[in-house]
């Protein structure tokens, strides 16, 4: 099947270039700062489109193991684990939970700011 063009990357590039053009004629330093933030968010969006489905599949699989369930709703499982950790129903110090939350942080950073990972 032919992909429509521009693809996701191309759309992000188009909007980034537009924001840059608008920012170039902006006198307010605050607005120029906000334009930089906008371009930064577009780069994150580009990685979101590419990476999020894989990340969510991996998180779902781990959560199902941790909670010993076949529930396919990621949001629901996160809510259940969050509540159970707060109430003490699940021990926060369990190795699989410690590993899971660290892995989630790393996966999210791969999208939000890969350079932060050491």
């Amino acid at each position: 099947m032919t992909r429509p063009i521009p693809d996701a990357k191309g759309l992000v590039r188009a909007v980034s270039a537009f924001v840059q053009q608008v920012a170039a004629s902006e006198r307010s330093s605050y607005r120029r700062f906000q334009s930089k933030v906008a371009i930064h968010l577009l780069r994150i969006l580009e990685r979101e489109v590419a990476e999020r489905p894989k990340i969510e599949a991996a998180q779902l699989e781990r959560l199902r193991d941790v909670l010993d369930t076949s529930n396919p709703d990621l949001e629901d499982l996160n809510r259940r684990l969050g509540k159970a950790l707060r109430s003490g129903e699940i021990d926060w110090n369990r190795n699989d939970i410690q590993a899971h939350v660290r892995k989630c942080v790393e996966e999210n950073l791969l999208v939000s700011n890969p350079r932060w990972l050491r």
Partner: protein, 346 residues
């Protein structure tokens, strides 16, 4: 703003500022320039120029944002504007380098309190301070100056202070949990972090005035060094080591992540300088707890910011509030590194 001035402090706001300054100075005043500065995530910060007797006076206006939703959640973290103003006045009176408050403007019901203060020399832009050649001299003295300033702040008699919130680590954790609940968020990573911190709170320490957000972004620096300490909205009474831990977080090191003390030097240099200035032995493991704690506190502040974006109407929303939500995982990542690493490098 009219009169060819930059920015858009509205006419009403300008008249209120002029009125308050007129009352303080007892002479006619005109505000001729207003530019919004890009710093200040909780507050709008404006650089103003007021003219009185033909003399130009550079000022700073701090005012609450236009939209006031979620005031209750933010108040779990913030000192409170009226107390913040009193605190700045007290510290200025004690000779600590804090901008003098010139006038407070009560906006009436629901509008929050704004205030105008002197504009001290220097910039609070870490990227410039850490990167520009013109700040090389400042960089060479800043660790010592920050240590001296913190020792001075921590040495203020709490009897002289306005009624600041007094917060132990455990109390702060309770507030962090309440903010997460108020955001209707169930976040397993944050829950594990809260639980770890609760289980590792160091034994009780002395409680002093704590700035609460002491980092280069809240320090005015000119080419020769520290010229002012600003942004007291997170000030409270608590463990003074929390200011040292906060200052060492990677989030405040910018282009120099390898230098934990604000991107300027090693932790050991900062701890030695502070220890001598305050005449105390700095316990690195206690600071390490507070650095870990600081990251979780910062994660919760990120959450408060993104919440402001989520509840704002499109015309009141600010893109930087949305962006800050994406920094939450940076803080959690650093938290886990701090508690997992064997060493806490000095």
């Amino acid at each position: 703003m009219r009169c060819g001035c930059r920015g858009n402090v509205d006419q009403e706001q300008r008249e209120r500022v002029e009125g308050a300054l007129r009352e303080t100075w007892r002479k006619p005043v005109r505000v001729t320039e207003a530019e919004r500065l890009s710093s200040g995530a909780n507050q709008e910060i404006w650089a103003l120029t007021a003219v009185a007797d033909g003399r130009e006076v550079p000022l700073i206006l701090r005012r609450p944002p236009d939209s006031h939703q979620e005031e209750h959640l933010a108040s779990l973290m913030l000192t409170g504007k009226q107390i913040e103003i009193e605190l700045q006045r007290t510290l200025h009176g004690l000779g600590i380098r804090v901008p003098e408050v010139v006038a407070a403007l009560d906006g009436g019901e629901g509008a929050g309190v704004a205030f105008v203060m002197e504009r001290l020399p220097g910039v609070a832009v870490p990227q410039k301070i850490l990167g520009d050649d013109s700040y090389a001299e400042a960089r060479s003295v800043l660790i010592q100056q920050m240590a001296d300033a913190l020792a001075r702040i921590h040495n203020v008699s709490t009897a002289d202070l306005p009624p600041l919130p007094s917060l132990t680590a455990t109390e702060q954790l309770g507030r962090c949990r309440a903010i997460v609940d108020g955001c209707e968020l169930h976040h397993p990573g944050l829950e594990v972090a809260f639980a770890w911190l609760d289980a590792n709170v160091p034994k009780a320490a002395i409680a002093t005035l704590v700035h609460g957000d002491f980092r280069l972004g809240n320090l005015l620096v000119d080419h020769s060094g520290l010229s002012g300490i600003i942004d007291w909205e997170l000030a409270h009474v608590g463990d003074p080591m929390s200011d040292l831990g906060w200052l060492c977080m990677r989030s405040w090191r910018f282009s120099r992540p390898e230098l934990p003390a604000a991107g300027l030097g090693n932790r050991g240099e900062l701890f030695d300088a502070y220890g001598k200035a305050a005449n105390v032995d700095v316990e690195p493991e206690r600071v390490r707890f507070w650095e870990a704690f600081g990251n979780v506190r910062w994660a919760v502040i990120c959450l408060l910011q993104v919440r402001r974006f989520l509840v704002a109407s499109p015309e009141d929303s600010h893109i930087e509030h949305a962006a800050i939500g994406r920094r939450l995982d940076e803080a959690l990542y650093d938290f886990f590194r701090l508690i997992d690493d064997k060493e806490y490098p000095l």
